[in-house]
Symmetry: C2
Subunit: 453 residues, 2 copies
């Protein structure tokens, strides 16, 4: 019984047309990264499982894909732990590796490991897939590509500004319209949560607040109540979330918040002064949370004004001391991450990919079998060496079938050399679009084709 051929839920196949779109995007993104001084690196798909744990937050960690130990190692499964319901211990006994969940932790490991070869501040970019065992839905895949740029070194507000300018440049060049980058500062949320006396619940509250857009304020309130916030605390949070305009009242309470807000305003005004992009506007959104635990300063999230159902298409923030986990202290980082697959989806929806980005074969040599094919192969190789893309139809199929092939693959030029042509020492060059054709002498074929564009 054959298998039904399907790709796994939450993963995608990419056809040649989609690949052409992705290449187009990748070129623009990596060129822009390069123009801001970022250098490319890549890290392995899997890391030691412990490296990925303890930094993203509890909920995120359940979404990390673990790899089963190979060979005899699986015999060491801790069945006792399984029996006791200690699944985390059971998993530890059969899995040492995990697929990367983002590109930030691997970067931290990379920086700590190669610190002696790196000149700081280290500006690197990285375009690679990440994996999350999330429930697949529109715009949410289990395998997706992130495009990250990070600056690792001393703190500087210039980095925050650079990152926003960089995003502006990229989206501008991609032609994505009507975007908003929300920015906030982790200290604003910290101060809010301190002010209601819920400091120990900080991580959990932030993760729940991050879901307001997804599940709505009332469900978030239910969740916050479930983790132990009382009515007064909930009312204050709700008030803050629903009237972010009254942030001023909050900010009066605290010079920390005041400074954080000043910083955000400075970033926003510098961005507006310097950017050439009119389609990425910045708003300060005091309720923006971001779901990852490691952020410590400015956080940002880019959404499409028209297609917000797709979720954020880029995000990032300032994180301090992430490399401390690997023994390198007093280093700060500021990074952004573009959601490559969501941006592609958005660009498809907005219909902004240029026409003709597919690189079709230029020339198809038809196959009239022996002995004609020998000469045809010589021409094909010759034209390839002159930079043309050339296929020889592999079998002596009916002429109509071979021409249909050329049509379907949008191959512009077809070359015929069979018994009739051999007699006349000619070749027929047929142009599929105009349906014109010309006969030319066999010795002039290469120069003739070369002279076309």
């Amino acid at each position: 019984m054959p298998f039904k051929p399907t790709n796994l839920k939450g993963t995608r196949d990419f056809s040649p047309i989609q690949m052409a779109q992705r290449k187009y995007m990748k070129n623009i993104i990596s060129r822009s990264f390069g123009q801001f001084g970022f250098q490319p690196i890549e890290t392995p798909s899997f890391e030691r499982r412990e490296f990925l744990e303890g930094l993203y937050g509890e909920e995120a960690e359940t979404l990390i894909f673990k790899i089963l130990n190979s060979g005899h190692k699986v015999h060491k499964a801790d069945i006792k732990a399984f029996g006791e319901g200690n699944f985390s211990k059971f998993i530890s006994s059969i899995s040492e590796k995990a697929l990367r969940y983002d590109l930030t932790i691997p970067l931290s490991r990379y920086v700590a490991q190669h610190r002696n070869q790196i000149t700081f501040p280290f500006r690197r970019y990285q375009i690679q897939p990440v994996w999350r065992a999330d429930r697949p839905q529109y715009g949410r895949l289990q395998e997706f590509v992130q495009c990250d740029a990070d600056i690792i070194g001393p703190k500087s507000i210039l980095n925050e500004i650079d990152m926003l300018l960089l995003m502006g440049m990229i989206f501008n060049r991609l032609g994505v319209k009507k975007l908003t980058a929300k920015i906030n500062h982790r200290l604003v949320l910290e101060e809010l949560i301190n002010s209601i006396g819920a400091q120990p619940l900080f991580d959990q509250i932030v993760i729940h607040l991050d879901k307001i857009d997804k599940i709505g304020i009332s469900q978030v309130m239910t969740k916050l109540s479930a983790i132990g916030l009382d009515k007064v605390q909930l009312r204050k949070i709700e008030h803050f979330v629903e009237s972010p305009d009254e942030l001023a009242n909050l900010s009066n309470c605290s010079s920390i918040v005041d400074n954080a807000l000043k910083e955000l305003k400075h970033i926003k005004s510098q961005y507006e002064k310097l950017t050439t992009s009119i389609d990425l506007k910045i708003i300060i959104d005091p309720q923006l949370a971001r779901g990852l635990n490691y952020y410590t300063g400015m956080v940002t999230e880019v959404i499409s004004d028209d297609f917000d159902s797709i979720g954020s298409i880029a995000a990032g923030g300032r994180y301090d001391n992430l490399t401390a986990k690997f023994g390198l202290s007093n280093v700060s980082g500021m990074g952004i991450s573009l959601g490559f697959d969501r941006i592609q989806l958005l660009m498809e929806q907005q219909g902004i990919f240029p026409k003709d980005i597919s690189q079709n074969t230029q020339i198809l040599m038809l196959n009239f079998g022996n002995p004609y094919i020998d000469l045809v192969q010589v021409w094909a190789q010759n034209l390839r060496s002159k930079g043309k893309s050339v296929e020889v139809y592999p079998s002596q199929a009916k002429l109509s079938k071979q021409l249909t092939y050329a049509n379907n693959l949008q191959i512009g030029t077809v070359i015929l050399y069979g018994p009739d042509e051999e007699k006349k020492k000619e070749v027929v060059v047929k142009y599929m679009k105009s349906r014109n054709q010309v006969s030319i002498g066999i010795d002039e074929l290469i120069t003739h084709i070369e002279s076309e564009r």
Copy 2:
């Protein structure tokens, strides 16, 4: 206690210099693929585990990385099977997905799944990592990139020739010298094994023969004896392996072998007539086996004459009906796979990467703090919009430190705008290589920089 930052055994980090080498290689390889009419696709990193089983051969299958089921699914572990020592059943109960082992099976799944959108013969290329739980050693990684080109459709000897020409073009453009492509036909081995009456052991014998280069003939003989071959059979195999020249005797016995050998000779002579590469020579090697079960016709393997310890750097062959597993019959395939990482290793050893393939930042704007930095940022953005790559040093560090940074990263041009320059309404442009510098008016900076190359 911080973790020691290391990448997992059998995986690699790629630094910006290595990334530049890889980009250089990838451009040449994908351009050459395109010139032979291959179109790019990509498939997900993981597939259903069963899809990958039953096609590579038993030994290879133990090297497939399995992914642990997420969340509560792991609670369904079949502990009874574990207790009974039925590890394969135990693994099935906790793992539905596996990382791809090569790009050929995913292609078969892709072709069967999307058959209605595909025009056959389907020429696709795919450049993606694959994963094998092999013991890591020199030239053998657990994660490595394969560059595959395959033609799926009716059989045609032109495809075999195309593939060899394509490899010749790629290695020629990469500049890799002194390579040998061994070719053989599966039918030769089949006939050998039939002639000694060991047909039921075909798959196992082939896998062992494939290891002659790795472990030597005597160890292979021991293995073959262990799977049940008797002394007479072993002697015949040994004789065949040690005197492939006497293949003629064998080929006299069988018109099948005779035809297979004729085909190989035709392929070789066509290749030699058509190729422009002098550094990839073809030899017919009747003992070449290839470790994968799915091959049915010509097989090939490319090795470096100077660095054969690295193993084969490319390989491929003809396979029939691989898509039958997914319900699509009577389709043949011919494909090659380039080992990207081994080729990079070889090119590093041969020292043939061009100099200056790294794309360094062109211009570093030094940081003299406020208020100078505001204008500097404007210039930086302006120059970027004109295509230059520009960094602003993020903090007001000592001048010497900022210049060291430029030196280490081989940034060619440095721009200084501090208190002295402000007074004179000038900017200093410093060329790091020649150590020359010029002062120019602030209004002329952009045109000055633009005019340089």
